[in-house]
Symmetry: C2
Subunit: 206 residues, 2 copies
Amino acid sequence: MNGSENPDCPYELTNNEVVWSGRWMQTRRVQFKPKTGGQQGVWESAHRNTTPSTAPAAGVSVIARVRKEGKVFVVLIKQYRIPCRKMVLELPAGLIDEGETAVQAGTRELLEETGYTYGKVVMETKICYLDPGLTDDSQCLVVVDVDVDAPENQNPVQQLESDESIEVVLVEQSKLMDYISDLDQSVIIVEGTLLAYAMGLRLATL
Amino acid sequence: MNGSENPDCPYELTNNEVVWSGRWMQTRRVQFKPKTGGQQGVWESAHRNTTPSTAPAAGVSVIARVRKEGKVFVVLIKQYRIPCRKMVLELPAGLIDEGETAVQAGTRELLEETGYTYGKVVMETKICYLDPGLTDDSQCLVVVDVDVDAPENQNPVQQLESDESIEVVLVEQSKLMDYISDLDQSVIIVEGTLLAYAMGLRLATL
């Protein structure tokens, strides 16, 4: 596919090629030239290999809210990320498996990564692109409420794979941006979806 | 760098290699094995080539707010994204150049992509990772207010490169999530930072 078939595409796309192909991802390169004229350039990009054709997006991130003593908390995770060589503060998240919906994948990942069982699905979004200048990697957002008084959430136990190591933290939603701003960046960096969510919470009233 | 030097890293990282290197990005692969035992795996990742060592992050996204008739609008752009082969609705954004701060890069990109001159910097964040399972690509968020009554904003004119084609839209902030939900996905997809920001705005009061 050269992509010129999309009528909204302002470029002539030629010489589209897979320049590297691995177990999990591909690297591609294409030449582009504005249809209105102008210089030719080259665009290089990264693409996941493993997304099932049935999946609404490659992955899902979960905003899981817990109400305790009149306050709303968000369930977050800390996990070492190999591409970044850093600990990263993130929303619970993961790839969508064959046949799963975004809600099924999100609530499965929530249980696996944090031990929490969701009580209610509040909202789900359609697909978004995480970093569209570099990759078509994508996710949906799923919002759930977790009832911490429910029997299954009395002693949440993670169900991690043998190669996973994840710490769970609950952060009060109204203090989320302060919590992120106070992170020691030599130790841990926040992930973009979570930061943008925190910014929305903050700016809703500013 | 194998990355095992980070004391928080729960893995032994070996055979780190650059498997493809282009003009704008590199693809890397590393073998990882949990220090606590468990199976060895391979992690493949994408990395930008061109980020200046001085830059606080690879890129910056700008939340630019416009107040008109008692309402707050957010300045958004629509742009064709080659990696996604789609039109994408995004915050104004771009890569940080040599010697620039996040605010300098963000306000420059805002002017180039939308024609708007900022009036006041409201907030800026530290670095975040956009898609940490796949890449260390990163950005800062910068929030500015735009005074549309200022002389320089009477006739905002984009300053695009010859290979850029960008449409500017102003969306009322309180209706941002509805605007995104109503997008025709066969035509345009939202970018992740913008979607998460809209979700924060929505859930601040839910």
